[in-house]
C-alpha cells in the first residue's frame, strides 16, 4: 500500500467518524457555549474588598413599579378616571399602593383597577392586569391589591405569576439626611417610570400613628408618583410617597380632562377629569404597610365582628379648634406640656388641636409659613383623615433644629381654611411658669395617688399629678375637668393660689370626687396659669383620659374592662360555635375571639390588633359602639381559604394602654410555615440565546436551571429537579421566574443549566456559582449551533 492510498483511506475514515459523531452529538452537551456576560456575575473587585455588596437593582425596582388606573365604563367604552403608582411586593402579584388611589370616591368613581407594567424601563407602562383590593387602611392611606385577571377577563392563578418584586425595608432605621430614591410614574400613563433622588430631612408624627408617621423629603416629588416606593441604598422599600389631590372649598384644584366621557365630540368641563395631586413631600413609612402585606400574603382578612348600632350621621360642619403647641408627647399621645414659644435649638414641636364632626376619608392639610414664607417641611400635604368624629389630634415634626422665626400654622379641611396659630421659635429658654406631664390615678386607703396612666377604673375619686417649674408663691392658676367635652361643675373647676415654695417639683393634690362614682367616658383636665401682668389665663397643660371598667390589679388602680377571652371556630347569634379552645387543628377557615366587657362608654376610642407569631398584621382604630357592659363581643379573622398554622393573638388598647394579656390561640403547629413569606433576596438570572450562524436571538429556546448541586449528568428529566425554567422571547432574551439562592464565597451555590431549541444542538453547563458577591441580575450569553 503506497502513501497516497493510505492517506486517502485515513481521510475517509476520519470523515466517517466525524459523520458518526454528528449523529451522536445531539446527546452530548457543549458546555463551553454558555458564558456569563460582561456585566453579570461576581464582582471581583468588590469580592476582594470584603465589603457587603450594596445593590440598588434599579431595573428590578422599575419593573416592580406599576401604574395604577381606576377605570369605569362610559357609554360602553373604558375611561381612565384616576392614576397613581404602586409597587409589586410579592412575586404572585400583591401590590402596595395608596388607599385613595384604589377606592371609589367622589373624585374617582370607577368600577375596576387596571395595572400597567413597565415592560421596557425606558417606555411608558402597558396595561396588563386587573387587580382587586385585598387589604386596606384608609387612615394610613395604604392598600394592598392582588392581581386577579387579565384584561380580557380570564382569571389568573396567583401561583402562575412570577413578577419582579421588592421587599419592605425597616423604615425605623432610616435616618435624617439619608438619601432615598423614589420610583413612580410622573405622568398620566404617558411617561416611563422615573427615579428621583430625595433626602430625608424631617420626621412627622401624627395622632394614632405616633412618631415617624411620615418621612419628610426634599426636593418634592411629582404628585402622580403617589403610591410608588421610596428605597434606601440597599434597594429596600422604606416609604410610600403619599398625597391626595388638593381641594379648594371641596373641589379638586387640578383636574385634567383627557377623554370625551360625555360623547359630545369635544373635550370640555362636562367631561370627567383625572385629578392631579400636588408635589409630594411626605412618605408613609413601610412599617405601617408591613402587617397589611403579610396579612395579604397569608390570605388573612378581618372577619365579622359583633354589630352594634352605629352612631347617627351628623350634618354639622367639621371643625378644628383650640390649637396649641407642645414640645413632647407621652405614651398616650397626650401633650407633655404646652408652650407659648420655643427657644433656639428646639428639635421637636407638636401642633395639637381638637376636632369635631370629622368623617374618616375627609382630606385635611396643614400649611405652615415661617416669617410669611411657605415651609413644605413643616407643613403636611393633603392626606386622608382617620381619627373618627371627635377628639384631640396632633401633628409633630422632628428635625435637627427648628429654624428661628415666626410660624403660622393653618389647618384646612377639604380645602377650607379652618383655624390657625402663630408661634415663635428663637431666643433663650423661656422662664415663664409652666405645668407639664399630667397623669391620672386613683386614691388608695391612705389618701395617696396610685397608678399613673390614662385609663382609670370607675370610682369615686380621680386624682391628677403634674410637674411644675418657675412657679412663684402667690401666683394664680385654675383647673377645669370635662366629661365628653362638657365642663363638669362643683369641685371640677376652681381657681387657686400657688402655695408651693419650691420653683419646681411635682404637684399631687388635685382631685375630683363624686358621691355616685364617675361614669365611664372620656374625660379631660385643663390647667391654666394667670399672667400676673395681663391677668389673662394661659392654657398650661391639658390631657384626656378614659374612665372605664372596674378596679383591679395592683392597688385596685388598673381598669379591668375586658375579660373572659375565648377562641372559637365560628359564631351564631353572638354565641361561640364549633370548637372553643386555645388550640385548633390545621385548616380552620377562621378564628373568632369572644370576650366580655364592662363599663365602657359608647364612643370611647379603642384599638384592636391581630398578631400572628408576634407580628402585627391587622390593626384598627375604632370607637366603641356596643352598650356599656355585656357579654360575647367578638372579633374574627378569616383565611383564604384557611388560616395557616401559627399563633394568633389579639391585643386591645385604649389611650396607648394595652388592656389584654396573652390572648392567643394556636392553629396547627402554632408557627407559620417557613416558606410563608417569599423573599426578594436572591439572584435574578437573565440572558440571551443566540444563533451561532446568524448571530440573532433564538426564539422559543428552553432554559432550564437545575436544583443546586445537581449536575446535568444526574438530571432525570423531572420538573422536581428543576429550580426554574424559562423560554426565550423573539429576541432570544429570557428571564428566569424564580430567584437563585445565594451562597458565600467559601461555599457558593452551584447551579447547572441546560438550553434546548428545536433545530439546534443543546448546550449545558455545570458549576455556575452564585455567591453573596454575585451581582443581580446574573446575565448569561448562550450560543446555539444548528443541527
Amino acid at each position: 500500500m503506497n502513501k497516497q492510498r493510505l492517506l486517502r483511506i485515513w481521510i475517509v475514515a476520519v470523515l466517517g467518524l466525524f459523520a458518526t459523531g454528528l449523529g451522536l452529538i445531539t446527546l452530548a452537551p457543549i458546555p463551553e457555549q454558555i458564558g456569563q456576560a460582561q456585566d453579570g456575575g461576581a464582582d471581583e473587585d468588590e469580592a476582594e474588598s470584603g465589603d457587603p455588596l450594596v445593590v440598588l437593582n434599579e431595573n428590578n425596582i422599575k419593573q416592580a413599579t406599576v401604574l395604577i388606573m381606576q377605570v369605569s365604563d362610559e357609554s360602553g367604552d373604558p375611561v381612565i378616571r384616576c392614576v397613581g403608582s404602586g409597587t409589586v411586593v410579592t412575586a404572585d402579584g400583591l401590590i402596595l399602593t395608596n388607599a385613595h388611589l384604589v377606592v371609589d370616591n367622589q373624585d374617582c368613581q370607577a368600577d375596576r383597577i387596571v395595572i400597567a407594567l413597565t415592560v421596557r424601563v425606558d417606555e411608558p407602562p402597558i396595561p396588563t392586569y386587573v387587580a382587586e383590593v385585598t387589604e386596606i387602611s384608609r387612615g394610613y392611606d395604604i392598600a394592598i391589591l392582588r392581581i386577579s385577571n387579565y384584561l380580557d377577563g380570564r382569571q389568573i392563578d396567583p401561583r402562575t405569576l412570577q413578577l419582579p418584586f421588592v421587599e419592605l425595608g425597616n423604615s425605623n432605621q432610616v435616618q435624617l439626611d439619608d438619601t432615598l430614591v423614589v420610583f413612580g410614574y410622573p405622568g398620566i400613563a404617558n411617561e416611563p417610570v422615573q427615579a428621583q433622588l430625595t433626602v430625608l430631612n424631617g420626621l412627622t408624627s401624627e395622632a394614632q400613628v405616633g412618631e415617624r408617621a411620615w418621612l419628610r423629603v426634599t426636593p418634592s416629588i411629582p404628585g402622580l408618583m403617589s403610591g410608588g416606593g421610596a428605597y434606601n441604598r440597599n434597594g429596600e422599600l422604606v416609604g410610600i410617597p403619599t398625597v391626595v389631590p388638593a381641594r379648594v372649598a371641596g373641589t379638586v384644584v387640578d383636574c385634567r380632562q383627557v377623554y370625551d366621557t360625555d360623547g359630545s365630540g369635544q373635550i370640555d368641563n362636562n367631561d370627567a377629569c383625572i385629578p392631579i395631586a400636588g408635589p409630594i413631600t411626605a412618605l408613609r413609612p413601610s412599617r405601617l404597610a408591613r402587617g397589611l402585606v403579610q396579612a395579604a400574603a397569608l390570605g388573612i382578612q378581618p372577619g365579622a365582628a359583633r354589630t352594634s348600632a352605629e352612631s347617627a350621621l351628623f350634618e354639622e360642619q367639621a371643625v378644628f379648634s383650640n390649637l396649641f403647641i407642645s414640645t413632647a408627647i407621652n405614651e398616650a399621645g397626650m401633650p407633655a406640656n404646652i408652650v407659648p414659644a420655643a427657644p433656639t435649638g428646639t428639635s421637636n414641636l407638636y401642633l395639637f388641636f381638637d376636632y369635631a364632626n370629622m368623617r374618616d376619608g375627609m382630606i385635611y392639610e396643614l400649611r405652615t409659613t415661617i416669617d410669611g414664607r411657605p415651609s413644605p417641611i413643616f407643613s403636611l400635604p393633603p392626606v386622608t383623615w382617620n381619627g373618627g368624629q371627635e377628639g384631640l389630634w396632633y401633628i409633630g415634626t422632628s428635625v435637627p433644629q427648628w429654624p428661628a422665626g415666626r410660624y403660622e400654622f393653618t389647618l384646612f379641611i377639604e380645602g377650607r381654611q379652618i383655624d390657625s396659630l402663630q408661634f415663635d421659635v428663637g431666643g433663650g429658654p423661656p422662664g415663664v411658669p409652666a405645668f407639664s406631664d399630667l397623669v391620672f390615678g386613683v386614691e388608695n386607703a391612705t389618701g395617696e395617688l396610685v397608678g399613673a396612666n390614662y385609663v382609670i377604673p370607675e370610682g369615686n375619686i380621680i386624682r391628677a399629678k403634674f410637674n411644675y417649674r418657675n412657679m412663684q408663691p402667690g401666683s394664680t392658676w385654675r383647673y377645669q375637668w370635662y366629661l365628653d367635652g362638657a365642663p363638669l361643675g362643683g369641685d371640677a373647676a376652681g381657681t387657686l393660689t400657688w402655695e408651693g415654695t419650691e420653683p419646681q417639683g411635682t404637684y399631687e393634690d388635685l382631685a375630683i370626687r363624686s358621691e355616685d362614682g364617675f361614669v365611664s367616658g372620656r374625660y379631660r383636665l385643663e390647667l391654666f396659669i394667670q399672667n400676673s401682668e395681663t391677668e389673662a389665663f394661659r392654657l398650661a397643660a391639658l390631657s384626656d383620659f378614659t374612665v372605664a371598667g372596674g378596679a383591679g390589679g395592683a392597688n385596685d388602680a388598673e381598669a379591668q374592662i375586658f375579660s373572659n377571652f375565648r377562641f372559637a371556630q365560628n359564631e351564631r347569634a353572638n354565641v361561640p360555635l364549633g370548637i372553643v379552645s386555645e388550640g385548633f387543628s390545621p385548616g380552620v377557615p377562621g378564628l373568632y375571639v369572644f370576650f366580655d366587657w364592662r363599663q365602657i362608654s359608647p364612643g370611647t376610642p379603642w384599638t384592636w390588633r391581630w398578631l400572628v407569631d408576634g407580628d402585627v398584621l391587622i390593626e384598627e382604630n375604632s370607637r366603641w359602639t356596643a352598650e356599656g357592659s355585656g357579654q360575647n363581643y367578638f372579633l374574627s379573622l378569616q383565611g383564604d381559604p384557611f388560616l395557616l398554622d401559627g399563633t394568633y393573638s389579639l391585643e386591645i388598647e385604649i389611650n396607648g394602654i394595652i388592656l389584654t394579656e396573652d390572648v392567643s390561640a394556636e392553629v396547627g403547629q402554632g408557627q407559620l410555615p417557613i416558606e410563608a413569606f417569599a423573599s426578594a433576596e436572591g439572584i435574578q438570572m437573565v440572558g440571551n440565546v443566540t444563533d451561532a450562524e446568524t448571530n440573532t436571538g433564538v426564539s422559543g429556546a428552553m432554559v432550564i436551571v437545575l436544583d443546586p448541586e445537581l449536575s446535568v449528568e444526574d438530571f432525570e428529566w423531572r420538573v422536581s429537579q428543576v429550580r426554574a425554567m424559562a423560554q426565550t422571547d423573539r429576541e432570544g432574551f429570557f428571564q428566569l421566574p424564580a430567584l437563585l439562592q445565594r451562597g458565600t464565597l467559601e461555599e457558593p451555590v452551584l447551579y447547572s443549566i441546560l438550553i434546548f431549541a428545536d433545530g439546534y444542538y443543546p448546550v449545558s453547563q455545570d458549576g455556575i456559582a452564585v455567591t453573596d458577591r454575585t451581582r443581580s441580575p446574573l446575565a448569561l450569553e448562550a450560543i446555539l449551533n444548528r443541527d
Binding site: 483511506i9 458518526t20 382569571q155
Partner: protein, 203 residues
C-alpha cells in the same frame, strides 16, 4: 507541492485494482457510518421511556428526554411530559383525573372542559367533538384551538395558535383526560407522539 495538487495528479493516473477496491471499501465505510449516525439519531428522537404513576394507576410510554412534571402546584393534572426543545410551542402530553358520578359519561366531562376552556385559554375555539374508542373503552375526543401567550409580561413573545386534543375515558368513578397540545403548524407532524402514547397507555 500542496496536498490537493497531489490528489489532482493522482486522479489523472489510472489506479491499480487494489487501490480502487480499497477506495470503494472506504467510501462504503463512510456511508455505513453516516447511516449509522442517522439511525442512532432517529432512534434517539423516537425513543421512549416508560413512565409509571403508581398512585393514580397510569402507565405509558413517553418520549425520551421530555420533561416530566408529576408535582404540579395547582394539581390540575397528574403528570405532564413536555418537549422542551419545541419551537414556538412546547409540545406536551398531559394526563388529568377528575372525579365523576356513577352515571357520568365522557361527554359530560367534555362539556365541563368546554365551559372551563374560555376561562383558562385565550380565544378558545372548539372544532370537533367525536365519539371514539381507546382500546376497549368508549372515549370522547375534542379538538380545539386557542392562542397561547407568554405569561411573563416582560418578554416579547409572539402568541402561538395551538391545536389541542382532549380524549376522555371513564374509569369507575374517575374520568381520565389525555391531552395533547402542539403548535397548530406542527400538530400533524408531531401527533405521532400522542398516538404512540395512546397505544401504550394503561390505566
Amino acid at each position: 507541492m500542496r496536498a490537493f495538487d497531489r490528489f489532482d495528479e493522482l486522479d489523472q493516473q489510472s489506479l491499480p485494482q487494489g487501490t480502487q477496491v480499497n477506495s470503494l471499501l472506504a467510501i462504503a465505510t463512510v456511508l455505513a457510518m453516516l447511516g449509522l449516525g442517522v439511525v442512532i439519531r432517529n432512534n434517539t428522537l423516537a425513543a421512549t421511556t416508560v413512565y409509571e404513576d403508581r398512585i393514580n394507576g397510569v402507565t405509558a410510554q413517553l418520549p425520551a428526554n421530555w420533561l416530566i412534571d408529576a408535582e404540579p402546584e395547582d394539581q390540575t393534572y397528574i403528570f405532564r411530559a413536555t418537549d422542551t426543545g419545541g419551537i414556538p410551542f412546547k409540545t406536551y402530553i398531559q394526563v388529568s383525573i377528575v372525579t365523576v358520578g356513577a352515571d357520568a359519561n365522557p361527554r359530560n366531562v367534555i362539556d365541563a372542559l368546554n365551559v372551563l376552556g374560555p376561562a383558562r385559554l385565550s380565544i378558545y375555539h372548539v372544532v370537533s367533538i367525536e365519539e371514539t374508542r381507546l382500546g376497549d373503552d368508549v372515549a370522547t375526543r375534542i379538538t380545539y384551538f386557542y392562542v397561547d401567550t407568554e405569561e411573563n409580561p416582560f418578554l416579547e413573545t409572539e402568541p402561538t395558535v395551538v391545536e389541542g386534543v382532549d380524549l376522555v375515558v371513564i374509569r369507575r368513578n374517575q374520568a381520565l383526560i389525555f391531552t395533547f397540545r402542539d403548535a397548530a403548524a406542527t400538530f400533524e407532524e408531531n401527533e405521532f407522539y400522542f398516538r404512540n402514547f395512546l397505544e401504550t397507555v394503561e390505566y
